[in-house]
Amino acid sequence: MEFFADILGGFHAVLTPYNFAFMVGGFLIGTFFGAVPGLTSVLAIALLLPITYSIDVTPALIMCASIFMAGMYAGSITATTINIPGAPSSMMTAIEGNALMKQGQGANALGHAALGSMVGGTVGALLLILLMPLAAELTLLIRTPGKFSLIMFALVVIVLVQRDDVPKAIVATTLGMMVGTIGIDVMQPVPRFSYGTSALVQGIDMMPVIIGVFAIAELMTQIHARPSDISAAELKKVADKLKRRDFIPPLSEIREIGLFGYLKAACIGYSIGLLPGVGGSMAAFVAYADAKRTAKPKDNFGKGSRRGIAVAESANNAMCGGAFVPMLMFGIPGDPTTAIVLGVLVINGIQPGAKLVETQAHLIAPMFVSLLLSALILIPLTLFLLGPLFIRIVSIPRAILYAGIAVVAMVGCYVATFSIFQMALAALFGLFAYYLRRGGYPVVSLLLGFILGPNLELYLRRSLDLSDGSPLVFLSSPDSLFFIALAFVFVYMMEIRPRQLAKKSPQSP
């Protein structure tokens, strides 16, 4: 009950002019970064991370939440209008939305995307708020061996979701874990991998890793991207075609999709958000595939399906709520954005765990409220007021954008640490992540390995310490056994079963 009182307090905190400005500002930044192809909300939050050193934790978290929600939704704007998904999670929206755009119904498609995002985001945020006390209670049941198995399970999922190349995902994850082992040991006050330099004894901060992996490497990747073929004049023409009144989808179309359709997609998205390292793209894809499987011919999938847009957007925005649960309860980020939010929490001395809900709920409640208000109010409002304008932002010269991002990333890194060494580390991590990306290694796994590695080691060694070195403790503890079994189920469902099915299915000629 106390938690819900804190949530009410969160509304009060968010609605103070200072915090409200951060929420709206964050939403606009998130929309901008989400809408421009090549920029993502992850990059926006990565750039924000150093700034959080200069502001209070409450506005920083409020801003993170609104950027997260906005970035997830904004990808649909350019996906629909010019068939370039602003964010990877809008891939499904691009298929259906752009088909509608070509039929002269772009505004209608954007309206459905916004409505889907609004419903999904709201449901995700409400589930997060309502289930958080329960999640905290459940967290208390998980003891040290269980925590080890849970992190192990998370790492298994992180690797398995990269279905294109599992060995590369394993390497990326272990590389991240290797970087995480640099510095003082987790149990004993001895340095590891300092190679005689005092700078490495302290270990590697999360800041240069995040700035390097998500900002510098992104810039290096974008150097090869060709500028959009669409001219500013063409974009203006597209924007002029969109009439504000058409953004509101007719009730008959909403009825056709049905409340159940929205809610089902939102629940799928929220559940996928609970899994570590999966993210919005998978949420949108699963919800879209599920809707397509049960679609009627009139749903027109692949040729401009409004249902397709609604479910994909509902799922990817609902994912935002789900992704916060493992991050806040166990320090296991659900996706790259929450990994950076975890960085904001750690920087401000807030440790994830059940106690967070008991003792520091007043700090996280405004973030939940920001997530809810961003979905419920800011998504439809932004589309209605600024929709046509956001289409034109694609025409902003990339060189100016990237020069600004490069400066903010590097100066931000200095401002946060006042260390030239940390700036150099950010540049090095950037180059490292760039080559990994080029070689098809998932860099998100690198970051998650870096974050989860130290805890994995800590819980492993603590568990063995408590059980006099007997590894059977992982099998005799019910919570640990549950996560080990869950990991096996995932391995079977995602690796073994698809191979068995592929073998059984008749060979195509």
């Binding site: 874990m177 290797m178 149990m187 401002v415 760039y434």
Partner: protein, 159 residues
């Protein structure tokens, strides 16, 4: 010689990661332990990580060798040349080196100017780029030093 060149070009990253892992592994014997934790002590996870990484890298290299050279070459072509990203990296290092000695204003101006040049596909005049770089420098100063009150050395050392 050309075989080595092809091998480095096509498997350079995997080989680089192999070297990185070996350098990492060379640090394991130097890890001390203040008290005995049994077999799972201070060295356990690093050793395990090295074994897993090396095994996976060998799998990746062997698998890539089986892939037709043409396909690998095509893949590399698709990802573009790494010359420009390397220039960006060097520019970033130069910026870091100049950050304190040359001061925020000069270093940031030069850095943003070089990034502008790297990303520009059009032949904008020098003065236009310089004006944009100056604007970016000014905005960054306003954001960090004025809005967030961070102390930045704006002038060169000794100025």
């Amino acid at each position: 010689m050309s075989k080595i060149k092809t091998l480095t070009r096509q498997h350079g990253l995997s080989l680089g990661l192999l070297v990185f892992t070996i350098i990492y592994a060379s640090g394991i014997p130097r890890i001390r332990s203040l008290f005995d934790e049994g077999s799972v002590g201070t060295k356990f996870l690093p050793q395990l990580l090295v074994i897993i990484t090396l095994s996976c890298l060998v799998i990746i290299i062997l698998r890539d060798m089986k892939t037709a050279d043409g396909a690998r070459e095509e893949e590399l072509q698709k990802s573009g040349s790494s010359a420009k990203p390397l220039v960006l990296f060097v520019a970033t290092l130069a910026y870091i080196a100049l950050f304190k000695s040359a001061g925020f204003l000069i270093a940031t101006f030069l850095f943003s100017y070089s990034v502008l040049c790297l990303f520009s596909h059009s032949n904008k005049k020098l003065i236009v780029r310089a004006s944009i770089a100056a604007a970016i420098t000014g905005l960054a100063y306003l954001l960090f030093a004025v809005a967030f009150g961070t102390h930045l050395n704006i002038y060169p050392v000794g100025f």
